[in-house]
Amino acid sequence: MKLVSAIIKPFKLDEVREALSAIGVQGITVTEVKGFGRQKGHTELYRGAEYVVDFLPKVKLEIAIANELLDQVVEAIESAARTGKIGDGKIFVMDLEQVVRIRTGETGADAV
């Protein structure tokens, strides 16, 4: 099993969600985060005091999937979230050691 974590631009969330739905991914967790990579921040000005805001709002997705779906999921996120402009984000793939469905107690592949 894999845990796919993706940082994307907030306005791309709906598109990515639909793309994942289309390939059969049924569960997803979303967090609002801030961050930067190579994208520069912007400047805010308050009564003459300038602030360079480095941290930009992003959205983080976490999806637990069976190994077989990995390539499709990465491809789906990548193409749905891409704008071609700097700041599109990144996808991280991690090995997932165990998954438990709380309601039923199922584990492993049955729980993903």
Partner: protein
């Protein structure tokens, strides 16, 4: 309620030179007061109180960081409660009762002698406002005494101990606000008798608060991380709502200072609105040109600058004068709140000096320039206005400095660095908003 004995009262009055009895409140028949004037002044009083709670409270609270929002609101609210009591007990008496040119007398301690007698159909009226009950006049003046210390708090936002702040404000209002109010507004006060014009408090309220704010900002020092860390306003919606309440409430502040529901109040309302609109536009334009974008914080600051500057002039100028005052104050206060502050590197956090101090100074002097004899009954004099403004500024600066130093020695002024980092809401008040 305890009354001062005749003997004690006489002794105290004698210590302060014989007051002129013409300046004492008189007991009159209730039929002599004007219903229209009284209704308007009751309303104005409520409007001006609304300017502090929650107008100023919100205006300031939106501009601080989220971790300090409750403590900033608390300052305005607690000051309101405290000054209410102090004013009733002694402030009103020392400000508005006859005494000597520098301080009033003790005729109204605990508001003794301020009378409403139902069966006799009599009540007392103050000579400055003979068409309304003295209670309304006292209350109207109370709301000014409340907002002035609340304004100062903007200068030391996010770093002062609540206990020390309360002690400072109590002392400041008795030792600075009350005397200055007496000098400028009470018959017998030395500036009053010299013809210094201050219709609604440009000097008594704004120069006073602005200078005290500057001194406090310098004595307390900069916030931890100032100049390096981001200290952006956390919610400008609150600030705009607060500024709007200030604008609307200011009709009570200025038009109410006519102490009558009449043509003078109307002119004051006109002057107030015109100056404020002009000042808001001027600041917005200056910022747009200088920085590329017109900001919400900018336009509301411009409006407040205009409101401050027109305050001493509202009952003396016409619409053209008001436009000029608005334009000048909008531009100059934009400069003083942005460039001057960064040039001189003091941390006047919410621009108590930059907007209220500078705006008040501009307004006081321009009142001398633009006063129209037909409206206010007097010619303006730039020299007299300047003397009044400077004398207030110097007295206020010295006494504020001394008070702060004494309080610092006795109980400290600033919170610890750890408390400042954690945020005053949690550190001082045990509360937070999520």
């Amino acid at each position: 309620m305890k009354k001062l004995s005749i003997g004690a009262s006489a002794l105290l009055s004698a210590l302060f030179a014989a007051p002129s009895f013409a300046n004492l409140p008189q007991l009159v028949a209730t039929s002599t007061i004007s219903g229209g004037d009284t209704a308007w002044m009751l309303t104005s009083t409520a409007l001006v109180l609304f300017m502090t709670i929650p107008g100023l409270a919100l205006f300031y609270a939106g501009m601080v960081r989220k971790k300090n929002v409750l403590s900033t609101l608390m300052q305005s609210f607690a000051i309101c409660a405290m000054i209410t009591v102090l004013w009733a007990v002694i402030g009103y008496s020392l400000a508005f009762m006859p005494g000597n040119p520098y301080i009033g007398g003790f005729d109204r301690i605990f508001l003794d002698g301020m009378l409403y007698l139902k069966d006799e159909a009599k009540l007392t009226v103050h000579p400055l406002a003979a068409s309304i009950p003295e209670g309304v006049f006292m209350m109207f003046q109370m709301t000014f005494a409340i907002i002035t210390p609340a304004l100062i708090a903007g200068a030391f936002a996010e770093r002062m101990k609540f206990s020390s702040m309360m002690v400072f404000m109590a002392l400041w209002s008795l030792v600075v606000y009350v005397p200055v109010a007496h000098w400028v507004w009470a018959p017998g006060g030395w500036m009053f008798d010299h013809g210094v014009l201050d219709f609604a408090g440009g000097t008594v309220v704004h120069i006073n608060a602005g200078i005290a704010g500057l001194v406090a900002a310098l004595v307390l020092g900069k916030r931890v991380g100032y100049g390096r860390e981001a200290m952006a306003p956390h919610n400008l919606v609150l600030t705009l709502v607060g500024a709007s309440m200030l604008w609307v409430g200011w009709f009570g502040f200025n038009a109410g200072s006519a102490v009558a529901a009449d043509g003078r109040a109307a002119m004051a309302m006109v002057a107030t609105q015109v100056a404020t609109g002009m000042a808001a536009l001027a600041w917005m334009a200056a910022e747009w040109i200088a920085k590329g974008k017109p900001s919400v914080l900018g336009i509301v600051s411009g409006a407040v600058a205009g409101l401050v500057a027109i305050t001493p002039a509202a009952g003396f100028v016409d619409a053209k004068g008001a436009l000029a005052i608005g334009l000048i104050s909008g531009l100059v206060c934009y400069w003083s709140a942005t460039s001057l502050k960064h040039m001189l590197k003091y941390d006047d956090s919410l621009d108590a000096f930059g907007v209220h101090g500078v705006g008040g100074l501009i307004g006081a002097i321009l009142t001398g320039v633009f006063a129209v004899k037909e409206i206010g009954g007097v010619e303006g004099s730039v020299m007299t206005q300047t003397v009044g403004a400077l004398a207030t500024a110097i007295y206020c600066a010295i006494v504020t400095f001394v008070l702060l130093k004494i309080i610092d020695a006795v109980m400290g002024l600033r919170v610890s660095e750890e408390e400042e980092r954690e945020g005053l809401d949690v550190a001082l008040h045990g509360e937070r908003i999520e």
